[in-house]
Every structure is written in C-alpha cells, then in structure tokens.
Amino acid sequence: MARRENSEINAGSMADIAFLLLIFFLVTTTMDVDSGIARKLPEKTDETPKVTIKEKNILDIVINRNNQLLVENENAKVQDIKKLAMDFIDNGGGLSQPKDGQPGQPCDYCNGAKDPKSSDHPSKAIISLTSSRGTTYGMYISVQNEIEMAYNELRNRLSLKLYNRSYKDLLKDYKDDPSEALKAKLDNLKDKYPQIITEPEPIK
C-alpha cells in the first residue's frame, strides 16, 4: 500500500461556517444606544431649610391632567416655554445671590430685558414645574426638554462669547480629552447659568 500523502484540510467550507455565525450575530444584534434626558434628583433631607424666595424669581409652570399648560397663570403652548424660560432666566433685573461673603453682583453677561418684575439673576431664577398625576409622560418630557433647551441655548450663547466655541463642542472636547482647563470652562458656564428646577408635590 502506498503511503498516503498528508493531505490538507479542505478550507472551502470555512466561509460557510463563518457565514452561519455571521448571520446569527446579525440577527441577535441590537445596536440601540440608550439616550435620554439626564436629571439629578434632589437629596432628601429631614429638615427643610427655611428660605424666602421672591415671587418674581420663580417661573411657575403648571401642567394639568388634560395636558394643558399654564405659565405664570397664563395659557401657553409647549413650544413657547423655551422662549419664556430664556427671557425669565436671562432677565438679570437685580443682584445675584451673595456668595463667599461678597455682596450680590448685577448680571453682567445677561442679555435680558432687565425687567424689575422678572428674575433678579440667573443664579436666583428658579423654574417650578408642577404636574398633575394624570399628566401624560410624553407631555412632561416635552416640557422638561424645552427647559433643558433654554438652559443649553443660554450656556451656548455665553460659551460662544467667552470661548468662541459652542457649549456642545466644549462638552465633546471634554469627553475626548478631559483636561482641567476645559473642566474649568464648563464649570464656569454651568455656574453662570445653573439649572435650578423644582418639582413640587403633584396636584391631585
């Protein structure tokens, strides 16, 4: 008998096997990137500190169970909230919160109307969002989104003025390269327009 030559393994079916696996992974793949509106909930404390806040420093938004909106006791549409919120936050009619023992400063970066009847300073401007238990979640998210938009646009405007770069780009830069200088810039922007949103007990 002739000694058999060591024959090579036939690799022709390799592609088929690989294809089979490929199709399996193609089918099971879900490439959903989870994204959403990020919120930080307020911490729960036992004692509620007594603070007096002037009525004019609060933008009162109420959504009722029929998804109707009231902003400062007037009917409004969802699309209007962004503008109303921006006008309110950026008004700058008075002095800021006294910080580190220093007296309050007027807002030198605000472009608002300086209306004495509206908010004093971005650091004092509070947005109050009261919703009813029966409000639908979609409506609630839309309003939250509009408020977020207002803050982002204000920060963006300031960012373009101070650093010649949009807020979004700065955030992206920071993600690519988390450096101290960028963080200081972002913190400065966030400090100038802090997000103060309060959600009181829902109306029953």
Binding site: L22, S35, G36, A38, K40, E43, Y137, N152
Partner: protein, 157 residues
C-alpha cells in the same frame, strides 16, 4: 516555436480565497458590538417620547433600567412597572435598586444611573412615585429614556 503558440484563454475565475477573511472580519465586528437582550418585556413595549436635548448613557454596566407601560392584557388598566423579568409594585423599586447595588463594586455605586423607560402615555404620577422611592435610597442619577428627534408633536395628543 512553442513560445508563440497561443494558450487557450478562458475567463479566470474570481478568487474566493479571501472570502472567509472578509466574512470573519464582519463576524468579529458583530460579535463585539452585540448585546444580547437580557430582559423579555412582559408589558407592552413602551413607545418612548421624543426629545432633542438628550445625553448618551455611558457605562452600560452601571445602568439599571425600569420599564413603565401598559399591561399586554388590554383589560388591565393602569401603568405597570417592570424590572428584570418581573412586574413589581412601586414600593419594590427600593429593593430592586439595592439588589442592583449589591452586584456592583462599592466604589462604582455612586456612578450608577437609573434609566426610566416609560411609555409616553404613562401617568406622571407613576414616574413621580418612582422618583420619590429613588430619592429615599439616594439613587439620585436618573435618565429619562427618550428617542432623539425634533418632532415632538407625537409626545402629546
């Protein structure tokens, strides 16, 4: 003069030798990017609301998801809350978060995020109840899951 005798020329076949390589490359890509769906939804798939100012959720392993939507059985009214593979009561959200925490390292706990995937027709009351529970145990990072887009008209009708 055999040098000049014309060789019989047939159409050369395309070499398929590199086909497995290409397929393997694709295969590895999909293998790496695959995430197997861990949870079977027992409620109706929530149709998420649309928002434009969204942030991507980072560190997938540190995210615990709470689903809120209607029951599959249309006779049952009200919002149902699902975590992992079971439908739970609002009060059990605390134990769910605590069990999620127990699975993570201690130093990672503060980076944990709760992602709320709720149907756009769910009641805000349910969401607020859950938020209240989360506040009770200091799980303060919350993300309201939305799809990215600019057409909000479907959010409310």
């Amino acid at each position: 003069m055999s040098k000049f005798t014309k060789k019989k020329k047939g159409l050369p076949g395309i070499s398929t030798a590199s086909l497995p390589d290409i397929v393997f490359m694709l295969l590895f890509f999909f293998m790496v990017s695959t995430t197997m769906r861990q949870t079977d939804l027992m409620i109706k798939k929530p149709s998420l609301p649309t928002a434009s100012e969204v942030k991507k959720l980072e560190h997938k392993s540190l995210v615990s998801t709470i689903y809120i939507g209607k029951s599959k059985d249309s006779r049952i009214e009200g919002d149902k809350i699902q975590v992992n593979d079971k439908i739970i009561d609002v009060k059990d959200v605390i134990s769910f978060i605590l069990s999620e925490r127990a699975q993570r390292k201690e130093e990672e706990v503060k980076y944990m995020t709760t992602s709320i995937k709720a149907d756009k027709n769910a009641n805000v009351g349910t969401i607020l109840d859950i938020k209240e529970q989360l506040r009770d145990i200091n799980a303060l990072k919350v993300s309201f899951s939305t799809t990215k887009g600019t057409d909000f008209s479907k959010n409310y009708q």
